[in-house]
Amino acid sequence: MNLFDYVRPATLGEALGAAAHPGAAVLAGGTNLVDLMKAGVARPERIVDISRLPGLSEIETLEDGAIRIGALVGNAALARHPAVKAAAPAVAEAVLAGASAQLRNKASVGGNLLQATRCAYFGDPASACNRRVPGSGCDAKGGDRRGHAVLGWSDACSATNPSDLLVPLAALGAVVEIAGQDGTREVPVAEFHTLPGADGDAGGPQLRHGEIVTAVRLPADAARFAAASRYVKVRERTSFAFALVSAAAALDIEDGTIRAARLALGGVAARPWRAAEAEAALTGKAPDAAAFQAAAEAAMAQARPSAEDNAFKIALALRVAVRALTLAAKGTPERMPALPASVFAPTLSAPSPSAPSFQGTAR
């Protein structure tokens, strides 16, 4: 880890001033930034610790019914908050499907929004990476791209965004509130990360140097889907693993007809992939298998593998989207599942180490 100056401003105004320094990085929960610094991927000259700034750790319901989530709200606190669980249960389920309990206690909502890709070449300073050093090339090409994008990628970069939280936030139309020295602005969560372009442009978060994310706002409209919302995540372990593919599905069903639908996919692109075509295809339809299959196909119509070893993700994403829509139509569970977002049913067996049984192998 390189040496840096450590500053802890007392107000947002002071923090914006400190963050304007050319080599500054903003520290909130630190679970991603400290890790990147240990790897030598992030080499800030100055750490601006905003973790105690006042006014950024609250979750409030606004007059118009929107829910404003402060950037410093911890992931675990977000998933436990009664208003979030009631209005946006898929957000709670997605948070609980990510990372570990220890990380969720420390990681912040703002930090989750800015979480870096888990592409192994991005994480290795010895590898060429357009995302880490624009224009330097991409060593993932010809390398291991099993986890890489199948939508919205370019020759410059095919890395995916690793966040679970952002997937239902994108589906539900959440907006990022950003403060800068020149004032405030807003960007939809679904567009916060730009897609890779040409000539070594890997894209990245739409945050200008010196700006700070202050909140994420969930529109009041999200609550209409609360009774039929799910997040589904397929990964290579049951727990504590990033998504291969995930989906957030939310339906507003009345008298056997879908009045409105929301669908976003995770693990398939450089940002959470809001599937507007699928949402349109579902509107006015009965919530049945044929409608869900057609919607999933609409969502993935433009998909193409970025390498031979990730072609499987297209078929997987179709199935995960159908599964998420099917589970959402069955209704949001009253209690959070024991394995949030998992496609596996709980085993519920209790261990009995005091009386090990080897009878099963003695046949």
């Binding site: 990380l103 049951t238 024991a338």
Partner: protein, 180 residues
């Protein structure tokens, strides 16, 4: 740039002068305060061996910049037992043979203490396994660890029940005008 940290660790106030802002909370606990019960495994937030309670919540101390923890209350494995009596989670780990080599155990125990304080799993083994997934055990003592956390949950529930009964008896006596 010198920094002075004030930490309350296991109820005891510590002042730590840092000449360099890079140490993590894990480094300060082990190398400056001398509490080596908290282990450095992966040092990247993946294994859970460094789990401590930071202001009452379980976190990976390897990913906490020590400077950012200034003023915090920290509980480590050394601070769990009271008056020579093991914490119920520690006792349950021993009775359920919840370890082999023991390297991950302090982190497992602190994570279990944090999990039980969160109060979201009850005695459900599946919820406990999911809630403990941030703690790896390369000896694979997982069946014993899950059993120990279930056992600790039952012990703590029973102890809480007894305390509630005691309070009810005390209140009854007070209502009847007897000395408590």
């Amino acid at each position: 740039m010198p920094l002075t940290l004030h930490l309350t660790v296991n109820g005891e106030a510590h002042r730590v002068d840092l000449t360099d802002p890079r140490p993590t909370l894990l480094d300060v606990l082990r190398e400056r305060i001398g509490l080596t019960g908290t282990k450095k495994g992966c040092d990247r937030g993946q294994c859970g061996a460094c789990t401590v309670l930071l202001d009452g919540q379980r976190v990976n101390s390897c990913l906490v910049l020590a400077a950012s923890a200034d003023g915090a209350e920290v509980t480590t494995i050394e601070g769990l037992s009271a008056d020579g009596a093991l914490h119920p989670v520690q006792a349950a780990f021993i009775e359920n043979d919840a370890f082999q080599c023991g390297f991950c155990t302090p982190g497992q125990v602190m994570s279990a203490v944090g999990l039980l304080a969160e109060g979201e799993t009850g005695g459900d083994p599946e919820r406990i396994r999911e809630g403990m997934s941030g703690n790896l055990c390369r000896c694979a003592a997982y069946p014993g660890i899950t059993a120990a956390v279930m056992d600790a949950f039952a012990r703590m529930e029973a102890a809480e029940g007894e305390r509630a009964d005691d309070r009810a008896r005390t209140e009854d006596r007070a209502r009847q005008g007897e000395p408590a």
